[in-house]
């Protein structure tokens, strides 16, 4: 028996002991299966392709049921993703199937951004899962996984080569999702053209470095069929929900004047191969790859973006606690710094404003000091004037007094003279 992954992980030092009877742990796979069956399965398919390539019809045909939706028109302003979830049951297996359709893909004149909404959608699902995984109290075992497990890329049956839109889109998606390219409406291509077309597509994919999903060949039970199928990629499919009577059976087919294309006839198209590979053989592997490869890549990039590392500069591994604590300290330090900066800025402003106001105050005082001085001068002048007036007044008074005195003396003298004259006359 080949060594299992777990045995390999355990390493060389583990001893193998023989059993002397039937213990019963060979029921473990059944226990596991019973658990998953009772929980139900979940699968999410994304259909990318131009309007009118028969995406909805193919889904109806693949899952043997009529899903919702009306045919879309060509005049959508941008690419939108519409998703619908259905609960299906086959025998005792319940499947929660989500189908996501790209509406309006390839219809715009400028298709440069067409792939963006698809990438965004896929990333959003990864992000939702990552957030759930990082929560402190989480319920991962009952989480409805919305990550895209398979992307069916519909190639238009031109017969020549891939369109540049196809190459660009697939290149952007190949590290995010399992891409299974299919040639849509392949009843428009003849057999010989088809072979050439497939080769051209495959070589273009290889030369552009687009990694499409390879059916796994590591499990011997399915290795052979998977590797054969890998050689038939991309699958040329025809979808139809209409039934036509062939022989005595009703089969799904498309009826043309020149013949009937039977959907489930392997010489007519690869529909059966697609169904086998996608659903019956590798559904679980598609889910596993999504989780262990595409999701892990997204998660790794996201965490690295946020500054998480596995080892510190000295190559010692971080424990989770250390990492979170370091992050937290860094974060708190940042917040503190911001707070400090703001305070400092205010202190600065206050200082500046105070200086300004002080200046203004100083100017005011200077102004009034000047005025005061002026006033003082004026007052002094006035005093001087007053003084001089006083002096003049005094001088005048003196003059007046002196003159009056003189006058009165003169009068007296004059009187006495007159008296003398009169006296002399009398003699």
């Amino acid at each position: 028996m080949a060594a299992t992954e777990i045995a390999r992980q355990a390493g060389e030092g583990v001893r193998s002991v023989p059993l002397s009877g039937h213990v019963g742990f060979d029921s473990m796979p059944d226990q596991l299966v019973n658990k998953s069956v009772s929980q139900g399965f979940c699968f999410n398919i994304l259909c990318v392709g131009e309007t009118g390539l028969g995406k909805s019809t193919l889904m109806d045909t693949l899952f043997n049921t009529k899903f919702e939706g009306e045919p879309t028109t060509h005049n959508q302003p941008g690419v939108q993703l519409k998703s619908n979830t259905y609960e299906l049951q086959e025998s005792n297996v319940r499947l929660k199937l989500t189908m996501v359709n790209t509406v309006g893909f390839g219809d715009q004149i400028n298709k440069e951004d067409s792939y963006k909404s698809i990438v965004e959608f896929i990333d959003t699902q990864f992000e939702a899962y990552l957030q759930e995984e990082l929560k402190i109290r989480r319920t991962l075992h009952s989480y409805h996984d919305s990550r895209i497990h398979a992307c069916l890329y519909f190639i238009a049956p031109t017969g020549h080569s891939l369109k540049s839109l196809d190459l660009v889109t697939m290149k952007k998606l190949d590290s995010k999702v399992n891409i299974i390219p299919i040639i849509a409406k392949s009843d428009a291509i003849s057999k010989s053209e088809l072979a050439k077309f497939k080769i051209k597509i495959t070589s273009e994919l290889v030369s552009n470095g687009v990694q499409i999903y390879q059916f796994p060949t590591d499990d011997e039970t399915v290795a052979e069929i998977n590797s054969t199928m890998n050689g038939h990629l991309p699958f040329a499919v025809v979808g139809s929900t209409e039934e036509v009577k062939i022989g005595n059976k009703m089969v799904k087919a498309r009826q043309y004047p020149w013949g009937t294309v039977q959907v489930e006839n392997e010489s007519h198209c690869d529909f059966v191969k697609l169904r086998e590979m996608l659903i019956r053989v590798n559904m679980e592997d598609l889910r596993e790859q999504t989780h262990t490869r595409h999701y892990e890549l997204y998660r790794r990039c996201k965490l690295e973006e946020m500054g998480f590392k596995d080892t510190d500069p000295d190559s010692k591994p971080f424990s989770l606690q250390e990492t979170y604590e370091a992050k937290r300290n860094e974060f708190m330090g940042e917040l503190q710094k911001k707070e400090e900066e703001m305070r400092q800025m205010f202190v600065q402003r206050v200082k500046e404003k105070e200086a300004e106001l002080k200046e203004a105050e100083k100017e005011l005082h200077e102004k009034f000091d000047r005025l005061k001085k002026l006033h003082q001068d004026e007052k002094k002048k006035l005093e001087d004037k007053k003084k001089s007036l006083e002096e003049e007044l005094n001088a005048f008074k003196q003059r007046k007094t002196a003159t009056e005195l003189l006058q009165s003396q003169a009068q007296q003298a004059g009187g006495s003279t007159t008296l003398k004259r009169d006296k002399e006359r009398k003699k």
Partner: protein
């Protein structure tokens, strides 16, 4: 959430279980079983009987032969294969448990071991670069109760109370062949009573949708705790080769369900509930550990009142929220500071204005005063000037008159009128 759709033909996803089966076989299985109990209770023998192999042998002695001074926790790994299925079995035993005179805290090494396995898993799960992680967490703990027939010992109760929220505990009555069926019944009832009394949560078998299965589960539940007997020797009984213990009075057969509950234990532990034990460990015990660990890291230094009921976030989301809160707080602080600043500036400017007005007023007052004085002075001067002019005019008139008088006199003198 989704709509129910009916299929009208073959699709093929009914094959999903097979795909899962195939992948799980390829990956292989692992299981970690812990055995705890005093020495001499037949733990190693039971393990050998359970897995029909010489896990413990002369070369690899059981725990009772390896007792050291303190309780150790040791693990041995073996790889066993059966029916295309490989199982990596890890047995963890605890030599020295309960054997000392003072057994206080002898459960601590056990708790530490379980926690360290959780820690390893948590760290591996939280790495940026993750690989397929081996699951070395303890999935089940078989706790051996000595067949005293009376009840649980204080050590038993203490151990189970401390471990029941960390690991799936399956209590077993060891060496059950020392009890008669009635004694065993009594003993079991007593033990279950005490377990309930102390609110100990032992491993519970899950309910299923299947009626039949539920009946079986009920039967098992009625016989808890399971009373087991183990044996390394094969004896011939009635032409059959069976595992058993030979006594002068008969053979106690390990796999005879009338003699003991060994078969029930084996079926339950290995054949039907091994996967569930792993699931419960992963979904319940590990998640409890993880959320407690992360809550401690996240809420270090954060107000405890806030953290209640917010454990649905990841530590990073928590930091994001704290950052937002802080930004809001800073904005508020900034606004407040701004307001205070504006107010103070206004005040100061107002004061300045007031002082300016005051000074202006005073200046005006003084100016007016001076002007009034000026006017007064002007008036005085005017008066004086007027007076002066008048007086001088008067004087001039008087002078003129005098002059005229004296001229007349002279004239008269000359005329001789004066004798």
């Amino acid at each position: 959430m989704g709509q129910q759709k009916n299929l009208e033909g073959y699709v093929g996803f009914a094959n999903l279980p097979n795909q899962v089966y195939r992948k799980s076989v390829k990956r292989g299985f692992e299981f970690t079983l812990m055995v705890v109990g005093e020495s001499g209770l037949g733990k190693s023998t039971l393990i050998n009987s359970l897995f029909l192999t010489d896990l413990y042998s002369g070369e690899y002695p059981g725990p009772s032969h390896r007792i050291k001074k303190t309780v150790q926790v040791e693990q041995s790994k073996v790889l066993i294969k059966e029916g295309g299925v490989q199982l990596l079995l890890t047995i963890v035993d605890t030599p020295g448990f309960g054997d000392a005179v003072d057994n206080s805290n002898c459960w601590q090494p056990v708790i530490d071991h379980i926690d360290s396995k959780f820690e390893d898993y948590l760290n591996a799960e939280s790495r940026v670069n993750r690989r397929q992680m081996p699951d070395s967490r303890v999935h089940c703990c078989l706790y051996f109760i000595a067949p005293s027939g009376h009840g649980l010992k204080p050590l038993d109760i203490e151990f189970m109370k401390r471990l029941h929220e960390k690991v799936n505990i399956i209590p077993l009555i060891a060496k059950a062949d020392t009890l008669t069926p009635e004694e065993c019944q009594q003993f079991k009832k007593q033990i279950m009573r005490e377990i309930q009394e102390h609110k100990i949560k032992i491993y519970e078998f899950p309910e299923t949708d299947d009626e039949e299965e539920n009946k079986l589960v009920k039967k098992i539940k009625d016989r808890l705790p399971l009373a087991v007997v183990g044996s390394n020797t094969i004896i011939e009984v009635n032409g059959k080769r069976v595992r058993g213990r030979q006594y002068p009075w008969g053979v106690a057969e390990v796999e005879n369900s009338e003699h003991c509950d060994f078969t029930i234990l084996r079926n339950m532990l290995i054949r039907t509930h091994m996967q569930d034990l792993k699931d419960v460990t992963n979904n319940v015990h590990y998640e409890n550990y993880r959320s407690r660990k992360l809550a401690a890291v996240t809420y270090n230094g954060v107000d405890n009142n806030k953290s209640k009921g917010q454990l649905t976030k990841s530590p990073l989301a928590q930091m994001e929220e704290e950052r937002r809160e802080h930004v809001a707080k800073m904005k508020k602080m900034e606004m407040e500071m701004e307001q205070v600043f504006e107010m103070k500036v206004k005040e100061k400017i107002q004061k300045l204005k007031d002082s300016e007005a005051e000074l202006q007023r005073r200046h005006e007052h003084m100016k007016k005063n001076l002007e009034a004085q000026h006017k007064e002075l002007e008036e005085k001067r005017r008066q004086y000037e007027e007076e002066k002019v008048n007086w001088e005019a008067q004087q001039r008139v008087m002078e003129q008159a005098k002059l005229d008088a004296s001229r007349t006199l002279e004239k008269n003198k000359k005329k001789g009128k004066i004798f």
